[in-house]
């Protein structure tokens, strides 16, 4: 694509969108602003409302209430075929009776674009996804990854200001998925179009996105960059969903400046307190926990918890341990290759700095929706 004539992305505004099926609210007051040209990922477990949100934007699902603006214009009630939004589906949805070339030309034919222009734009779109040599093949002759690249070409060939992708890599194996993630990132950079990407895979979300909206039970729990969600989760659900985490629950006592949790006879403290009445839990990232043999006095941290190695996973770059704590819960620790190694069943001690513990309101449903 020539610089200067890049198709600019459209901004999207969702304002308290609700979609109800009888008593069940698939979307419950979802508000989200997506900036022009942004790569926004809707992340959440299945049934959390992320795909429904995508379908609402695409025009496949009408809303019960709320406002939806694409490029500043309300599109509520506008049928899907008039929205000019590219959509890539998990199941590719290529037309099996058309060649790759005709599939990609389809949206251009519908728009009455003349043959010569059509051919050059189809070629350009196929080149962009590196499928230029496959124009005369049928979809059934392509692998899953190739089909999805063709589907991507078909969704961008008519220069939509907005591209929606519904778990496009969900059916592909890991290696191919990781490679296509980088391809999608490159295409996003080259096009400058707004991308909205739905996935349940938090790693994929972290790789791709400018910002991530975490969905849970029809609501958005938090919107932010990957780093913000990882370092400063707003809810226990977000903390658990993004990255590995250890959640410490116990009998809580708070004073003005600190919170103490008593967990099966041991006490840990954090120099903060939680606003409000909710019972606090501590969330710790694996790299904030230090692991050592009991009584060895691991350097970092003021808090100590004893436990037993329940699972030791060799990761190449280091090791990951699941440690069974005295109260039966599981802590996740990552230790570098240079550190000591521990065997299954070994007694260990975990240490952490109270300042590294995130204090969050307990939410028992966070566990059930995750599994």
């Amino acid at each position: 694509m020539n610089p200067g004539q890049e198709s600019r992305g459209a901004a999207i505004d969702l304002e308290s969108i609700t979609k109800a099926y009888g008593d069940f609210k698939a979307l419950d007051g979802v508000s989200l602003r997506i900036e022009p040209g942004e790569f926004m990922t809707l992340l959440g477990p299945s049934g959390s409302g992320k795909t429904t949100t995508l379908n609402v934007v695409a025009g496949f699902t009408d809303v019960t209430s709320g406002k939806l603006l694409v490029g500043g214009k309300s599109v509520v009630g506008v049928p899907a075929h008039k929205r000019n939004i590219g959509v890539v589906f998990q199941h590719y949805a290529l037309f099996p009776h058309m060649t790759v070339g005709r599939n990609v030309a389809y949206p251009l034919t519908l728009r009455g674009i003349d043959r010569a222009t059509r051919q050059s734009r189809v070629a350009r779109a196929l080149d962009m996804v590196k499928m230029g040599d496959f124009a005369h093949r049928y979809p059934s002759e392509l692998s899953g990854g190739q089909q999805q690249r063709v589907a991507l070409a078909r969704a961008i060939v008519f220069d939509p200001p907005l591209l929606l992708m519904d778990e496009p890599l969900g059916a592909l194996d890991k290696k191919l998925r990781e490679w296509l993630q980088l391809e999608i990132k490159r295409i996003h950079r080259e096009l400058g179009t707004t991308f909205v990407y739905v996935t349940h895979d938090q790693e994929e979300a972290l790789v791709l996105s400018d910002r991530i909206a975490v969905f849970n039970r029809g609501r958005i729990e938090q919107i932010g960059t990957g780093r913000q969600l990882y370092d400063e989760p707003a809810t226990l659900f977000v903390g658990r969903f993004i990255g590995d985490s250890t959640v410490l629950r116990g009998e809580a006592r708070s004073d003005a400046t600190s919170t103490a949790l008593r967990i099966a006879g041991e006490t840990v403290t954090a120099p903060r307190r939680l606003a409000g009445e909710a019972s606090p839990v501590m969330l710790l990232r694996p790299e904030k926990l230090a692991i050592g043999r009991p009584g060895q006095g691991v350097a970092s941290g003021t808090n100590r918890l004893s436990g037993m190695i329940a699972e030791a996973i060799y990761l190449g770059s280091g090791s990951k341990y699941e440690v069974r704590l005295a109260d039966g819960s599981t802590a996740i620790v990552r230790s570098p290759l240079t550190g000591e190694s521990f065997g299954l069943g070994e007694q260990v001690e975990l240490c952490f700095d109270g300042a590294d513990a995130k204090l969050l309101a307990d939410d028992s449903t966070a566990d059930t929706t995750l599994t």
Partner: protein
Amino acid sequence: MSASEPTSQPAGGRPAGAWKPFALTLPALVLLAAVIGYPLLTIVLRSLSEPEWGVQNYAWFFGAPVNLTVLQRTFTISAWVTLVCIVSAYPYAYLMTAVGPRVRLVLVLCVLIPFWVSGVVRTLSWVILLQDSGVINSLLRSVGFSGVRLIRTQTGVVIGMAQVLLPFMILPLYSVMKGIDLRLMRAAESLGARPSRAFFTVYLPLSLPGVYAGAIIVFILALGFYITPALLGGPRSTMLSTLVQSQVLSLLQWGRGGAMGVVLLAATFLLLALAAPVMRSRHREAGRR
């Protein structure tokens, strides 16, 4: 040769026991030879040998304009029946794919129950419906229209035959349609196709294999129809099978009857050969999930 290499294909020869699957088809082949091959051969031989050896029966058939008219009419009526079946079966089969399993069962039964009733009985009920003082005409008159002549016309024959043959169109159509991925329609809409356009560019082409399969079955069955045209038709809607029947059973002209049968068979094959290139689907996979 290492032990892990496939050993099912010994060098230079078919694997032993390759004939076994064919042996399983033997009973069916014997039956086909007995009930189709042998009678067909007899008909061809008789058409060339009765009353004496030669092509006099074929000369007679092509020499009498009435025979050619009836032959042409047989194909015309069959074509109309096929068309009526396509148009009425298409939405019905689509509905079958769109409803839930319970309603679908009802729809399937609606197709099959008439199918289980004898063709004679069904045709006679059409006589009651279509005749000049029948249900349809009394209804038309009661709302102020003049009656239409349906019985003993080609229209009547087409209506009756189409009803009898409808299941043969609905069932193949349904089996193809239920394999079409409806998510493709959603994809077409997202690319800018309004629903009607999406239907004609995506759904219809993917359903064509079913249309072709149903059309061939209906058309070929219609060519040989006897009872329905005999009961619902008049002299101006006689089909070839009626002529065959009168030649063989009334006039005992087995040779002429045989010649007519052979001509019908040859004409059918010719037509199918002409239609085959059109029907050969250009895509490898009919939109299956």
